[in-house]
Amino acid sequence: MATAMVLAGCGGPPVDPLSDRSPVGPTVEVELTEREAYSTVATASLPRIEARVAPDLDAEVIVDLAHPTESGAPLVFQVISERDGWVEVLLPVRPNGSTGWVLGSAVELTRNQYRIEVDTGTHRLTLFERGRVRMEVPVAIGTGATPTPLGEFYLTELLQPPDPTGPYGTYAYGLSGYSETLQSFNGGDGVIGLHGTNEPSSLGSDVSHGCVRLANETINELVKILPLGTPVVITGPSS
């Protein structure tokens, strides 16, 4: 599918007639491949999806997941790779970073041009669109006792709380990752969220039980554009 590119460059013979100008600034190397600009989302097309340890029907089943999910959201995965009719995906299960293989015929693939990076060291969330920065905003993260887990996750569900003035704000995304210190929280099983807040003054600090908090205005903007399956990469100060 990738488009073959032909780059017509200056710099070699024949000589650029304007090359006598002094170079200014650092060299910029921004060469986005389609793989870097887009990710792939797999959305279940069957009521249940089995993820296996290998791309083989005889391989061990890691997990059997329902579609739609318990919250009513479609079951989605972030695609890692594809091989012989199978799709390797990130799984929304413990331990964090689990992967598995699902049948390609059991999912529908779509392209996603968005990616989120959260730097817990700087308390900043950066939204990329086709590899370019579209938004950079402050966030609150987990405390030292309940840290926000680091790793590569993706958006699994989008909930609209009944009370927009509550602690989750106007919207809350669920991530595929889990707290590594809390096995359960508030009746749930410790899923990390990306949500608004009723304490905007907390942004920029370590105050949560592991979730990533955003201003309500920010989450409202994200809801307009982000598909489920959007990659969320969380890094730490030493990453």
């Binding site: 599918m1 488009t3 073959a4 590119m5 032909v6 780059l7 017509a8 460059g9 200056c10 710099g11 013979p13 024949p14 000589v15 650029d16 007639p17 304007l18 090359s19 006598d20 100008r21 002094s22 170079p23 200014v24 060299t27 910029v28 190397e29 986005l32 600009a37 009513g72 959201a73 009719g85 199978w86 049948l103 390609g104 059991a106 693939l109 779509t110 392209r111 996603n112 987990g142 309940t146 958006l155 569900e157 989008l158 909930l159 609209q160 602690p167 809350a172 669920g174 929280f185 508030n186 099983d189 410790g190 990390i192 949500h195 949560s208 039980h209 979730c211 554009i225 982000l226 598909p227």
Partner: protein, 181 residues
């Protein structure tokens, strides 16, 4: 899933020989278009110069396709130059194309193709440009509807189609979150 690529090659003056030397014409070359090179672009700072206007094949008009701009700068630097791509009622800009020596910029936008695709260059402070760049329009090839499969997918021959559609924004579901707030 096959795709069709329409390549529009825009090359300014000094790089034409090199560019032609690099062209690899793919199969199905009937869609490849080459814009003849102009001289080095000169104009008033801030002015816009139309570099090329190309007709979009009729069967692609109205299709949502990826338009990919790839630029490679030479050793000269002309800050503020911007490639502007227009088709139908859509416009997108690719800035920073000559801001640094040997700099490369690749920009991809999904657009609904109009009848023509026009490439403009808005000149920066020095009113000069000597850039080489390519524009490729990458469209999905129409495919027949998939056959209905009655047997369970687990028993059928697994196939995976490359992702073609852009994922839509998520639909919110009403509910009380139990995330680690």
């Amino acid at each position: 899933m096959s795709r069709r690529t329409t390549r529009i090659l825009g090359v300014f003056a000094a790089v034409v020989a090199l560019a032609v030397g690099l062209i690899v014409v793919p199969a199905g070359a009937e869609d490849d278009l080459t814009v003849k090179p102009d001289e080095v672009i000169r104009g008033q700072p801030g002015s816009t110069v139309t570099v090329a206007t190309e007709q979009i094949p009729a069967d692609l008009v109205g299709n949502v396709c990826d338009v990919r701009i790839a630029t490679v700068n030479g050793s000269s630097v002309h800050p503020g130059n911007v490639v502007i791509t227009r088709t139908g009622d859509q416009v997108f800009e690719t800035p920073g194309i000559e801001d640094s020596p040997e700099g490369k910029v690749t920009d991809i936008s999904s657009v609904t193709l109009g009848e023509t695709l026009t490439l403009d260059l808005r000149l920066g402070d020095d009113g000069l440009s000597s850039l080489g760049f390519t524009v490729a329009v990458d469209c999905p090839e129409p495919t027949p509807a998939p056959a209905q499969v009655e047997s369970p997918p687990e028993e059928s021959t697994p196939t995976v189609l490359p992702a073609q559609q852009v994922a839509p924004p998520a639909d919110p579901v009403s509910g009380n979150p139990t995330f680690t707030g």
